[in-house]
């Protein structure tokens, strides 16, 4: 089955094609949208199909079978992530189309976005630790370039801390690869998983696990390693900011989930405990940071952190239901967060700024945008029956069952503060009287932008209302990610040259 390679080759081929086709034009954007739309559809159907049959798709690259060759594995969890990355990229491209003419954007923006997508997709489906490192580097170097591509002189310095911490993170990842090779004698996920019971006594294992966790906590933005994020994301153009906010940190969360459930031994209780507490601290500090900001994108950037905290807590609890909750939460969060960033961009478009002291009058001007914002904000805070509630509910019930009362209390407090900071945007941008400059309703851009945002709000509403169906897929995904024996069998069954 050659399908897995499609998700890497297609974005890469279009990136190269777009790179050669330098002149900004409409057809260039249409190509981008067609490719991402196709990738999204393919990934959604794959996810549904794999979850229904509880199978995995395995591809031995160059017909070298595991553990000698590099394998690509799509299980339901990876397929879910692939559909989310495709969907977010698609909406960001559409937003960019409505936001400005083809000439307004830098000619390298779309090619770099596709390289970014290549790296993200490869890190979702790879079955090899060193290949994961390469995928991360593809993703990071495109993200550095995108971050600085359109930044103005005043803002470009904020990119430097982002670079510096990610470079150190990547180097630590490389070291972790080395330690993993000496502990497991292999870098193949399936081969590592098959030995997980034998390496428990190895004194290097805690070092390896701790180092891997440190690396991906940096990438995901967990407390106390998140300072690079809230200042660097707001310098991006709105559609790119939405893509970064939706996808990039979640790649870190996904890899944490993948490594802790599929690859590493399940007995690392001390590590799960540590992760849960880091998650708790991230929730609280992230949301306090959000309360302290007074411009929309700043508030939303801090919110990413606080939401990452919930996911980390869910992974830390490490029960099948908690991991299901984590998957559910990732699905909810990516869509809601991206669309909230787009709302922020539309506020900027209508008011000329996203400083909450100088915005206002939007509820009278465009109630549709207000309703979309409310739906997504309440969903972020976890009000039933919106999509955010279900993930949170599962995390709370699993946390209480595990006796982690302090962490559940922290999560509840973070939820209330989330509501408060969302209220701040609501009061500042929607209910406050219109500023002297007025609301720029003559700007033709806001109508299609609002339509796009409301379609995203509908998707997220559908997830909230049809949660039973989504839950079933997420549950299969989480259970299959935890099933180390099944993963190993699926990878080693596929025949090719080599093999042990």
């Amino acid at each position: 089955m050659n399908l897995p390679i499609l998700f890497v080759v297609l974005p890469m081929a279009s990136a190269i094609l777009l790179l050669l086709w330098r002149k900004p034009s409409k057809s260039r954007r249409i190509l981008g949208m067609v490719v991402t739309g196709f990738l999204t559809l393919a990934a959604v159907f794959t996810a549904i199909d794999l979850a229904a049959n509880a199978t995995r798709l395995v591809l031995n690259l160059g017909a070298w079978s595991a553990p000698l060759g590099i394998v690509l594995v799509i299980d339901p969890l990876a397929a879910i992530m692939l559909s989310l990355s495709g969907f977010t990229a698609l909406t960001c491209l559409i937003y960019a189309v409505f936001e400005g003419t083809p000439k307004a954007e830098h000619p390298l923006r779309i090619p770099l976005l596709f390289f970014l997508l290549t790296g993200i997709n490869l890190s979702f489906i790879t079955g090899d630790l060193f290949n994961l490192f390469v995928a991360f580097e593809i993703m990071l170097i495109s993200s550095y370039s995108l971050l600085t591509l359109e930044a103005d002189d005043r803002n470009v310095k904020h990119a430097f801390p982002y670079l510096a911490i990610n470079l150190v993170g990547s180097t630590l990842f490389l070291i972790a690869c080395g330690i993993a090779y000496s502990v497991f004698g292999s870098l193949n996920f399936a081969h590592m998983a098959s030995q997980s019971s034998q390496v428990l006594e190895n004194p290097l294992l805690p070092a390896l696990a701790g180092l891997l966790m440190l690396v991906f906590c940096v990438k995901a933005g967990l407390f106390p390693l998140y300072f690079w994020l809230p200042n660097s994301y707001p310098i991006l153009a709105t559609p790119l900011g939405a893509f970064y906010a939706g996808m990039l940190t979640k790649v870190g969360v996904y890899v944490l989930l993948r490594l802790l459930t599929t690859v590493m031994p399940h007995e690392l209780n001390y590590l799960h405990q540590l992760l849960a507490w880091m998650g708790g601290a991230t929730m609280i500090f992230g949301v306090i940071g959000a309360v302290s900001r007074h411009y929309v994108r700043g508030i939303l950037s801090f919110h990413i952190l606080s939401q990452i905290g919930y996911m980390a807590l869910a992974i830390g609890l490490f029960t099948p239901l908690a991991l299901t909750a984590c998957v559910l939460y990732i699905i909810h969060h990516i869509i809601v967060k991206a669309s909230l960033f787009l709302v922020g961009g539309t506020i900027t478009c209508l008011n000329g700024t996203d400083d909450l002291n100088r915005t206002g009058g939007l509820w009278k001007a465009t109630p549709v945008l207000g309703i979309c914002f409310l739906l997504q904000a309440l969903s972020l805070a976890g009000i039933p029956p919106l999509s955010g509630f279900w993930g949170k509910f599962l995390i709370f019930s699993e946390g209480l069952a595990a006796g982690e009362y302090v962490l559940v209390a922290a999560a509840l407090i973070a939820g209330i503060l989330t509501l408060y900071s969302m209220l701040k945007i609501w009061l500042g941008a929607f209910w406050a009287p219109a500023p002297e400059s007025g609301v720029r309703l003559d700007d033709p851009r806001w109508k299609p932008l609002t339509a796009l945002i409301s379609s995203m709000a509908l998707v997220s509403l559908a997830i909230g209302l049809g949660v039973e169906w989504v839950f079933r897929i997420a549950n299969t995904a989480a259970l299959m990610a935890m099933d180390q024996a099944g993963y190993t069998r699926a990878v080693f069954e596929v025949l090719g040259k080599g093999g042990l």
Binding site: E137, T148, D153, K157, H158, T171, L174, S232, P234
Partner: protein, 119 residues
């Protein structure tokens, strides 16, 4: 061999972490260059003690050294070369814009206006 390598790796890590923690962005760049070299050397030491072993391309006599870490290092060198090139260009742009590469000076106005990151 292993002990000397370990001491060298430790020394390189110490120096590079010291450099990365400094205020000047140029020193952070040098710190990163050293750090990636330290990491590569660390990876190399993961193939075990090389004494008495052959290079992996020689077939006759004795065991070959494990070639995989060397392959990994090659990839890592290429990647860190690309990233370093990017970093140098970014630093040059920062220097052209702001006439300084010191973090303390770059972010000074920031703390005064506290409106960081707003466009």
């Amino acid at each position: 061999m292993q002990i000397e390598t370990a001491i060298l790796v430790g020394f390189l890590f110490g120096v590079s972490i010291y450099l990365v923690l400094m205020k000047s962005f140029v020193r952070i760049l040098f710190g990163f260059v050293l750090l990636s070299n330290a990491a590569n050397l660390f990876l190399l030491s993961m193939s075990g003690d090389p004494s008495g072993k052959n290079a992996p391309i020689i077939r006759e006599g004795g065991l070959p050294v494990d070639p995989l870490p060397q392959a990994l290092i090659l990839t890592a060198i290429v990647i860190s070369f690309g990233v370093t090139a990017y970093l140098v260009v970014l630093l040059y742009r920062l220097f052209l814009d702001q006439k300084t590469t010191s973090a303390a000076e770059l972010f000074r106005e920031e703390t005064e206006s506290e409106n960081g990151g707003k466009r």
